[in-house]
Amino acid sequence: MIKEDPLNRVLYIDLTKKKFWIEERPELFTKYIGGTGVAIRLLHENCPNDIDPFSPDNPIIFAVGPLNGLFPIASKTVAMFKSPHTGNLGESHAGGRSAIAIRMAGYGAIVIKGKSERPCYIAIHSDKVYFRDATTLWGVKEGLSVGSLIRRQEPGAGLRTIMRIGPAGEKLISYSCVTLETYRHFGRLGLGAVFGSKNLKAVVISGKRDINVTNFKEYKQLYEELLLQLAESEKMKKYHELGTPANILPLSFSKGIPIKNLLTNEIEKIENISGESFAEKHLGRRVACSHCPVACIHLATLRKPYEDEPYFYRTVYLSYDYELIYALGSMLGITSSEDVLKLIEAVEDMGLDAISTGVILAWITEAFEKGIINETMTDGIVPEWGNTECYVELIRKIVYSNNELFNDLRRGIDYTSSKYGGKDFALTYGKNEMPGYHTGYGAHIGYLFGARHSHLDSAGYAIDREAMTTQKTVEELVERIIKEEQWRQILSSLVICFFAREIYTSDVIHKCLKLSGFGFSEEELSEIGREIYADKYRFKIKCGFDIDNLSLPKRVFEIPTSLGFIDKDFTDKAIVLLKEKIKSLL
């Protein structure tokens, strides 16, 4: 690492005492690079054992890496915290303007601790940190935009990130998200609720600086090569043109997209919610994260007529992705793009994680059909597949109703199904709701053992796609999952968007790191990836994560995947083997 690189500076903010200080931690970054690698070390250091996730002692950690601000598509920030949703590792990644803003403000990581007496927001402008009153912003409903109110108050236009929570985060719903730049999110595992528990409404960060490199001429050359590759890559073109929803049709064709809480793998008119359909009917604009030329963020326009005035419409822009169309579409039996957008709007207004919310709504619908819950428990709402109005109402009830069922649903369906029953069809993995791929063993085992129970931990769906042509043994599958997840620790320590993983090969990463003064060999990088992965698991286990008691939801065995029925013997063997492998690393 280059000596004067401000990456090694960690900004600590104490919300209780309204104090901040900066510590230089070169040893941390020299050893663990940045991003995930540094964040997990800081989490071990700053999160005491056995604390409640809503304790003021639970730290919120943001970390970026050496490639942010230097190379294109190194555009992500890693957030870490103890998750109120699972009780162990909370890790979520987001882009927007965040990574470049943190790097340009002159930090490698930010650690926020304590709890503000009153609602507040933090403004970080380079070396200055301000604690601003946010009592007026607390409890603001849909009509007002917290983002635009803060935008008017703060400097740094064009370069700043504004991370904020909605009503769900204020009400400590364990799967509430943090929204940044209106359309990006730290979505999963409940960072929004941790913000809420600290009376922290928002964090604004801005800055502007130059970063040193070891050889400017070589840097310029490598940068331009990478930019050209990003421009010419077919894969990047796909992310730009239709975006992630390009996968709706191929996955529905291979029966890999879950439908109606995975009661079936077929639904008519799914083409109406395909990426092609969304683009043709709704696509209004594409936008990008800072320093990413791909622009995968697709904004749909939704025109809603006012009921009290003819020929008068409200036009809203909403970002859509594959996971949202799955969770708030196919999973709920919805095959109208307008309806999916209406649900996306409701979820955005509340500040909830879209995937968890969709899977929870699907569980409610099936539990209702099976008589596990009834109308008196749902405040009179009758959930029904495909009925968007009832789902919009349920989303509001989850946030605002005080009745017992909705109170329980604020903790997710692992908790709710433990209390009411319906566990067999509660699609959760390590207490986190299922992502949108029912493609085979790779996906399901990947969710179960991924350190954050995300489809992005090891991209099991990609392993399943390979397995469609070449069958994999248990050993091969387990090896692939572990290897992929370990390698991704390097990408998320740099911090590169996973979409560019095929362009940022280990050779390219080696060159990039050399220019920012890191001399890691490829072997050393693999070793660091393994260590970060192990460190995340150490944290999980320290928090009580029971690795010996993991199983797949019963439902996934009942409906064929893209690779046919899941064989329980196979998954049992894979679970045993993965457990052994992980334990041997600890």
Binding site: M104, Y183, N212, V287, H291, C292, P293
Partner: protein, 131 residues
Amino acid sequence: MPVFVKDNEKCVGCLICMFACGRAHQAAGLESSCIKVRSQGGISRGFSVFVCRGCDDPPCARACPEDALIVRKTGGVLLKEERCTGCGYCVKACILDAIGWNNGKNKPVICIQCGECAKSCHYKVLEFVRK
């Protein structure tokens, strides 16, 4: 007038042009960049790019009390850094907001009319025309 803003509507707000401008000024990062990208009041409204249009009779040069900005024959200005006192009048004089500011040096960042911003843009928001 080497760089034209052809179509702001196509801008995705990726800031690649800003980083290209920094590299053209021999730096990695954004401190030495003068092109700017701003949302038009929230990201859903899209973006605007602010870049020097290389005026023939540049007000920035007229505003400079130290004659540090020399008018180029082909449009735009050249910064004589040794003359600049960092007063910032040039920034105020530019109605396009196309002059950057390097806080480290406390001096303006002036467009060198190289067209690197336009060349780096994937979406043809900008067009570079050599005079």
